[in-house]
């Protein structure tokens, strides 16, 4: 029931080849262009960050594995632009030679002069919420089965490797936008978000070292109480 992006703990990927710390930030010019294009299109206001993550997750497994990082971004951007009605499939099919008409959303485009302010402002995810915090630091909790509970195959941020695992509340981050809802236009539905710490042995049959731990940021809906 997982999607291809949910790869935490997977075997078979081989060794990591770290680039030197002074390697160019963008290995190719088009990498930089793809990132900037994605950010600039975000300013049109036709999707939120959870939708854009979900668009990348909805790439087919073969595309996801064959595409490089910025190819995934580009493909998801094109898919989102069509899914949200900004562009049509015909728009993508051919670049016309005749002058284009200005798009109804053109007034919302990000001008160069606003870039610094927009990047500095960011998009905070903390919100006031009517959902009371059910847990406090030190409480023992168990994660539910990973998966979106209202949209089949929908977006979620509880990785499969941390399904049905027992952990301890480390800290309360306040209430944050709930991605499982926000990715599907079901509202921000903010609720308490916690850092939850798990013993490595609670997650892996053969943990590397007895004292090691993994911390995940998890929404209250992902958690169930464990009576102690």
């Amino acid at each position: 029931m997982s999607r291809i992006h949910d790869m935490g703990g997977r075997y078979g990927d081989g060794v990591i080849h770290p680039e030197p710390q002074d390697a160019p930030i963008f290995a190719q010019d088009w990498h930089a262009r793809a990132l900037a294009l994605t950010l600039a299109c975000g300013a049109l206001g036709q999707w939120n960050i959870d939708m854009s993550r979900h668009a990348r997750e909805c790439l087919s497994p073969s595309d996801y594995m064959n595409f490089g990082y910025y190819e995934k971004w580009l493909a998801a951007l094109a898919d989102l632009l069509v899914a949200q009605g900004v562009l049509s499939r015909a728009d993508l099919s051919a670049v016309s030679d005749t002058p284009d008409t200005i798009h109804p959303l053109a007034a919302r485009h990000l001008p160069a002069a606003r870039v610094a302010a927009v990047l500095a402002a960011g998009g905070p995810a903390d919100r006031d919420s009517t959902v009371a915090a059910r847990y406090q630091p030190g409480d023992i909790v168990r994660t539910r089965l990973s998966g979106n509970r209202s949209v089949d195959g929908g977006h979620t941020r509880l990785p499969t490797y941390a399904s049905h695992a027992e952990g301890r509340i480390l800290r309360l981050h306040g209430s944050h936008v709930f991605p499982d809802s926000n990715a599907h236009d079901q509202g921000e539905a903010p609720e308490p978000l916690y850092a939850v710490v798990f013993q490595a042995q609670a997650l892996w049959p053969q943990a590397e070292h007895p004292g090691d731990e993994v911390v995940l940021d998890l929404w209250q809906s992902y958690l169930e109480p464990v009576s102690t």
């Binding site: 870039v115 850092a195 993994v214």
Partner: protein, 226 residues
């Protein structure tokens, strides 16, 4: 009509999401498949409709190539090493400190700083995508976004660290932070021995990017760049 310009924000008013989940015929396949041509085609289409300003793209690239990068995080770490009150405040409430320093912003709206000690080594990953504290470290390096790092960092962090040339003593526990929400984590590495009395500026040179992700230690004093 008033409207706040934002990038793909965490929320707000957006039209209904009609993403066809598992459409085998994804619209992206209509664009040229060669990626450099693909990005060029999409940029041209959007520019002609007035949906993007190519100069804004240049400004975004300039920001992350020249203005925002690990030098920002290194300043924070060096100051924390140098100033115990700053360090305590940073560990308590990083957002307040980073706001004051102008080091918040996109992909760094909520930051928690985690401190390495002889008893605990912290290391950061995003197994589901590539979450990373942009205002402090810039755009993540390729390895951070690689399948191998995303898949393995949570299960076998010590083997991963060994591939970065880091071996931890048995008595040091590893705590891996999987960035699954909009909270971004910055590792405060241990201050190298033999740097007592060093200025903040001198300390900055010992703070490499990877030490703030947790896949490296701070540079030893003896290897300080000239």
């Amino acid at each position: 009509m008033h409207h706040d310009l934002k990038l793909d924000t965490a929320g707000g008013e957006t039209p209904a999401f009609n993403m066809p989940h598992d459409d085998p015929d994804h619209p992206h396949s209509l664009l040229p498949s060669e990626p450099a041509l693909r990005v060029k085609a999409l940029e041209t289409i959007l520019t002609r409709k007035g949906l993007i300003d190519p100069a804004a793209l240049d400004a975004i690239i300039d920001t992350y190539e020249n203005k925002i990068g690990p030098q920002n995080g290194a300043r924070v770490v060096a100051r924390a090493w140098h100033d115990p009150a700053f360090r305590a405040a940073l560990l308590q409430d990083a957002d307040a400190i980073l706001d004051e320093m102008g080091l918040n912003g996109r992909q760094g709206e909520h930051v928690v700083v985690v401190e390495n000690t002889p008893e605990r080594h912290n290391m950061v990953v995003c197994t589901l995508c590539s979450c990373y504290p942009w205002p402090l470290l810039g755009i993540p390096p390729g390895w951070y976004k690689s399948d191998a790092y995303r898949a393995r960092a949570v299960r076998e962090p010590r083997k991963v660290l060994a591939e970065f040339g880091v071996t931890l003593p048995d008595e040091t526990a590893v705590r891996v932070w999987d960035s699954t929400a909009e909270v971004r984590y910055l590792v405060l590495p241990m201050r190298p021995e033999g740097t007592e009395g060093w200025s903040e500026d001198a300390l900055v040179a010992l703070v490499g990017r990877d030490s703030m992700i947790g896949t490296a230690l701070a540079t030893p004093a003896s290897e300080a760049p000239a």
